[in-house]
Symmetry: D2
Subunit: 368 residues, 4 copies
């Protein structure tokens, strides 16, 4: 079966390639009555371009969104919302010379095998990180919908290379300050060290990865499904399809494998008439359902595969060893750019599950 | 939308509760012509019961499979294959006294909220680890199908608590020896230390978690889909729905977040006329597609939530603080039991994607 | 993709073959809190056996339902409801002699091609009308759910061969009397003529078809989806998968192709503060959405393909012309037996769409 | 669940409204390697505008297609193919005055209820016949794909009002001549009478319906699925979602309800080493699978709901009786315009099922 959509109630369908005419997204299942316009989307697209140009790719993507359908008189209608951005800055000639040389770390080789050579190889084509623009556009709708129901999704950079945020950050700090630094880290001292690490690695013609943490606040208890559509399973799926993500963990994550049960279990208590847990090692999800505590998830992002250094590869036409110097302009570290993508991925999944649970209705009557 | 199935071509549908009459599974989309009988399933079910009883739960589940449909004259027919096992050993009275006291670390509380109290709370009901029997039954079909196409899926215990396998294990060693030890660890010295750790923690009335690694060997390049049905995203989803899994990582995993690109990239080379990579930090998956290298994935399993020690909780009827001593019989460590489940989860996803890619046909003509 | 399920919120999954061990069904998505037991199902299964044995097949299927999961303390839990009936009466030896001779009007030939000969050919296997037992079991759940929301689904025999109900029947008459006659026709004079026609055709070793009409009363306006999941499109799909159905029409049906617009349009008017239409040529559905008027649909059922008379066919092994006398015991007219099946098909689709619209909630709180 | 897509392997996703900016379609699952360009689409779009303007609506839709993604170097890439046409000719002011007056025969009233008034009501919005442009665009891809595998889909007008094609038409005649007449009827004498009937009814300010027949030639035996994804059920679904279609029948259709089995059964015989049936009352489908004979299906199309004559209706704001004279420009008969739509609907479904069966591969290697 074709696989370019995700979700069951809030369905996100993506199309477009890195060097094609457009990147597009359709949201099928946005409730009617959500106030929505192109002005909601633009700021979020701009966040994919870190503020300080010295640390970014030379390719500046001035993405301008156009809504094609599904919005009327300033509100969603209940019909599919289609949005596109044009691919203006792509320089395809960068890729012609090396089209038979798969770039290490990219999907070039398996994509060539899968599609019998018919795939659009330019800039990774359908497999490019560029297509995350679709996720961001859908994420704007999801986040606006969630905020109507007092759910807030906040991602930020927790580590770049070996520079890590060690101290605890308040939700308020994350909410207010994550987009103030170019690296999307709310801790300014840390952010400065991260920037330096990126500048250094760029000078070496090399690249860095990192870790992004995402919190979802205000999600009521009982959202999700048992077993196959577990909320954490669905969130993990959407996060892992983001290019460069190599791991995902919830709450205590891999570290809980070393804890004893008596230490790891989050015990319940009453607070102000509500059931809460004293700790949150579960990351807000139990048995695939939200527990009412903050949902906490982290992803590992690999260092950018496109590096300036010459690398070994093979020539797929001649089936012999070869070398490649990857052309194009690339970020030495995609972590900052990935922050709004991670936020969108989590928001999309939560919107889907909250509509599935009937907590978000099909018509936002109270909006009118 | 209802959420009790997974997959698009090899669809696995699960039903049943921990203390209901049966646990069942349906496989919709198994190609016609696969030799299959109840004798294929039984040994795998038996593997969910570790060999050495001293380290296991007192509840011995003698699961006996019955095939209800989809098999005729010893071959799959192309129609849905339904299988059930009866729940003989469940002692439901263990749960009556504590039905208003959600067990810490379990889904009791969010399930109560989600289903308005109508859910079967006995032993976790639909949310119990017991339902992974369905995955194991489906996994048998998937593994038999994959083996017809020379794909081998091998999981084993990599860590229990703080005891870890440090040395490299050959594929052969893993294949032959993983089910020889009660903890499903092919390294016998390590296995012994793991067993001791489990015995110790059981004596303390406490529990342990661990890490399972799974390899898929022989998967051809180009299996998977770009973006939304990325092979790693789909594998991650199925692994994370396994109860107690809190994290998943591929290849280098979280560690690659600290590497530079020049170190992390797996460069291509020709070997015996085939394209391979010198290293496999990607864990066999690039851009959501298999690269032809071994698929490598690890999951973090939390310590068993059901422990003998008294724990704080709340009374959902009276909405006040309370304490609970969790009844029932439980494993102090579910990691060994989860090994065939993880293997099944990966096998199911690979079978699904290999049929989707057309690499496994709808009729196994060559079988007859 | 595998195709043995239908629906998006109220998902019906079917398994089993005519001469296998069981026919089974799973309902995934039944809201929690519906009172439900095996006693609800049994009477409906019994309706598949017409009251007067002289007009039916010699094969009496004493179907006894067993609920395997999803019901606890007399209520649906929100987990999948699995139900099975054993195939006790099947005599498979009837089919061995003719297994290479496809029966005219049956799926034997294309099924043989599709599954490369691995299909269970006994009694049509997976393609048998016997599998409609699954629809009937699911229909019981759907009808009980709908009745909670004051929706009533009523099917009855409108024609058998050339004997037709000509006069208008009140909803009350249909509701009360449709199961009083062996042919499931509420008009007793007509029913008598239909019975005679069936007895006559049976004596000739031949068979008859007919027309079933189904009404859905009480469906609120606005149920359905635009375009691809139009309510009428979804109802038509489920009706056409019922074996022997060759056509479906709504409201005025094929006859409106000859009307002018001014005659066919159903004009609106206010009645007791509600919007109604003066006529109902649309059959209660406009643009894929329910209009609030009764949904009216008719299906054409072909004469039973299994007849006693010798017929021409081919030998698939020898690839040469042959003749066949179809064995087994068969109804000379399946129309009466199909009445509860049609009712179930419509009820299942309405339950699905009413949950999708949010009109039926995920938890029937008011039930407890 | 959201409902704006159809198909499982060849998935067609539609967006756009009658008076929005664009009508769009995405095809997810078109195999890689199909030669395809905008020039393939344009002629088919032009066929929605009947040749003789005197019989058509004043609104001339000069639809110009733009391909947004999924095509590279003249071939499909395997990625989603997105296409749009701009809505240039829509005059929305026609609809402002009557926005609270639901037009008889249209979805205005149920759509208003469903979406709480947020729906785009202009020209029917998402429910307009205009959105069938999406089906036609997808149909071009499907038909090109099918023709690669020697399958031909041919629809034509069989009746308009009471004027009907009575004589048998050869496949060749239908193929060559169906688009030669403005009414899309290959029988020129009949076509002339149909044209006159349309001109007459237009002068009366009224409208006409009709019947379209569609043949699919060359479909191999064994395509389809048992029960829930029966080929005829899926074809019926797609046909019934086409606005104005009120009934669908296969082969002998409703007439077989009056036949005896011995007359209706299509007996098998060998011809030139192939299995065929002597007659084709089944319309090429048995038990949900193609039989290898031509697939034959007919749809009933209601007379256009928008007529010039004043009609009764209600005012939804004041909830009182009212009258309406429907504005806008409309076809007195949509049957000719619907012919390529019906052809597309059948082609889309066949492409989907032939890919599902593995008969059409995921990569058209032979094309390159």
């Amino acid at each position: 079966m074709a696989g370019n959509s995700i979700g069951k109630e809030f369905v996100v369908f993506s199309f477009g390639e890195s060097h094609g005419k457009y990147i597009g997204v359709i949201i099928d299942g946005c409730p009617a009555g959500l106030p929505f316009s192109e002005e909601d989307v633009q700021p979020e697209l701009d966040r994919r371009i870190p503020a300080q140009l010295k640390i970014v790719s030379g390719r500046i993507e001035k993405d301008k969104v156009e809504i094609l359908s599904g919005v009327f008189n300033g509100f969603s209608t209940g019909a599919p919302i289609a949005m596109i951005v044009a691919n203006k800055e792509a320089i395809s000639s960068d890729y012609e010379a090396t089209k038979d040389l798969p770039r290490p770390g990219h999907s070039d080789y398996p994509a060539h095998v899968k599609y019998g050579g018919f795939n659009d190889y330019r800039g990774g084509g359908r497999f490019s990180g560029r297509v995350t623009v679709a996720l961001v556009m859908a994420g704007v709708v999801a986040k606006k919908l969630l905020s109507t129901f007092d759910v807030d999704v906040l991602a930020y950079t927790k580590a770049i290379g070996k520079v890590k945020v060690d101290k605890a950050l308040s939700h308020e700090e994350i909410r207010k300050r994550r987009y103030e630094t170019s690296v999307r880290c709310p801790d300014s001292a840390c952010a400065k060290a991260m920037e330096e690490a990126i500048v250094n690695v760029k000078q070496q013609g090399d690249s860095l990865g990192g870790v992004i943490e995402c919190l979802a606040l205000g999600v009521p208890a009982g959202i999700g499904e048992p077993l196959f559509d577990a909320l954490d399973a669905d969130i993990a799926k959407v996060l892992l399809l983001v290019p460069a993500v190599k791991g995902v963990e919830f709450g205590g994550g891999f570290a809980v494998a070393e804890l004893k049960g008596s230490k790891n279990n989050d015990v319940y208590q009453m607070r102000n008439g509500k059931v809460i847990t004293s700790t949150n090692n579960a990351g807000g999800i139990l048995g695939g359902l939200s527990s009412g505590m903050p949902i906490t998830v982290r992803v590992a992002i690999k260092p950018t595969s496109s590096i300036v250094k010459e690398q070994r590869t093979v020539n797929l036409l001649k089936m012999e060893d070869a070398t490649i110097k990857v052309g194009g302009r690339h970020d030495p570290c995609v972590v900052p750019k990935a922050v709004p993508v991670v936020e969108s991925a989590v928001a999309i999944t939560l919107a889907d599950h909250m509509i599935r649970a009937g907590v978000i209705p099909k018509v936002l009557k109270e909006q009118k």
